[in-house]
């Protein structure tokens, strides 16, 4: 129980620090880039793919594997599609004069 609690607090520390870093950086992103930011951030939220890779691959239980497979498909669509769409969009932003 004690180790579980300290692991939770470690995770919580990461959560809080990441929230501050995220806030500091993202408030600096100009309105121009809000759509690509959103689809890029979207792609990052597909990080849940890591979790689905672990559960889909574990193969301990057929149902868990099936759910994991579905999760892998959905998260991969999110990651691959998100990054590609942002890339295409960002390619279209060109600087005037410089």
């Amino acid at each position: 129980m004690a180790t579980e609690l300290s692991a939770f607090v470690t995770n919580l520390t990461l959560f809080v620090l990441a929230a501050f870093v995220g806030y500091e950086i993202i408030t600096k992103i100009p309105t121009n880039l809000h759509t690509p930011l959103m689809s890029g951030a979207n792609a990052i939220s597909g990080i849940t793919l890591l979790g689905s890779v672990v559960v889909a691959g574990a193969g301990e239980n057929t149902l868990a594997t099936a759910l994991g497979f579905l999760a892998v498909v959905m998260a991969t669509i999110n990651v691959v599609g998100g990054y590609l769409v942002s890339h295409f969009m960002l390619d279209q932003f060109r600087g005037g004069g410089n």
């Binding site: 759509t35 990052i44 890339h87």
Partner: protein
Amino acid sequence: MAGVLAQYLPPAALQLAYLIAGILFIQGLRDMTHPRTATRGNQISAAGMFLAVVVTALWFDILSPLILGAGLLVGGGIGVWLAVTVETTEMPQLVGLFNGFGGGASALVAGAELIDVLAVGDSLTIGLTATAAIAGIIGSVTFWGSLVAAGKLHGLVGDSPVSTNVGHAIKVLFLGAAVVAGLVLVIQPDALGNAPMASWVPSYWVLVAAASILGIFLVVPIGGADMPVVIALLNSYSGLAAATTGFVLGNTALIIAGTLVGASGLILTVIMCESMNRSLTNVLFGGLGGDDGDSEEMEDIYEGNIQETSPEEVVMLLETADRVVVVPGYGMAVAQAQHAVAELVELLDEHGVDVEFGIHPVAGRMPGHMNALLAEADVPYDKMRELEEVNPTFSQTDVAIVCGANDVVNPRANEDDGSPISGMPVLNVAEANTVIVNKRSLSPGFSGIPNPLFARDNTSMLFGDAKESMQDLVNDYKEATD
């Protein structure tokens, strides 16, 4: 037996790889702060994701690599196909759809993890069930909410707002059901003992079902023009769902990345709400707009005060203008007029006119929607001005062209008269010498109130489809200046 990497490397190596991935995500976002470095930032972020996925796949014991490979292949294929075939005008719904998939995956992973833990004979700890319950609720709400939002943006689901007490009651009911199911999951994960379905952790799936219905009922009543807020908020949820899943699995990469996304979505949500001078509660539950407006009041304001103009007359104005500001709105997106508008602006620029775009933060259906459309039409980003930058310049502007925008240029917002938009920051185009409003008709915008701007002495209406009207202006201007 552990995966390939875990046989040769100490456990800390996995954590280190996740740390590197986290750094790449943060650096990627930092590069997004400027258009010049943004493409690189996106690539850095993608590299972080690639690293994290590859290391994870090689680290853990993958008993069924075939299933994993098939999942990655199918998902990757669909992702590429959607990204390549999408039209720029369909971007908001695609972003919403991707978002939903991320949330849905989080909910499924949490459920699969519960089943897996039971399958290997371990007991479900409170830490695991509690975080799984949170991930399940947020993930399911995100998935179904995003699907409904994408459906509205694509015109598959009606986009008029409705606010009924029955609707609110349903939301409360299903939120309650989801919370109760979550409590059962946490307090008595083995409530069914050895019943045949017990190994499926049924309370978790009851929670998912209730949260799914909640997600649908949360978004269905919200009107189309409030979608920038909804899309940004769901974006934030999908990040939080990933972060919570990270707590379930004890995975640091998920926590860092998910939190970054959660922060990003939340900031965008706040910016969108402030740009409408409305609270988040009002956007989510207020059901603003959609009524046809007070026709009597409309007649009072418009009767005898509307001046119509023609492309030829507008071109004559443009020929003598030194400074022109174009204000695009959702109408430009609907008519796909961005290329015609961009051509007009380029022409004016070539003829020495000081010409810029004035862009309202909530114009369109997602944050930065107008900017993305104009970028697609090759408009340099330094020509796109934000509200605070462009507003002081209207008094020195000869012609302001409003293309398919309505509420965001309504001067009534500056008056405290209890109208739905009062207090909302708007583009004060009326301060320009002449205002040209290109619209198909005098019908009210999303707020459902008439716009006194149309009746002003220095305003002329250029009725017609945005794309055709702008193309007419381009052709006439070319003829006139040849």
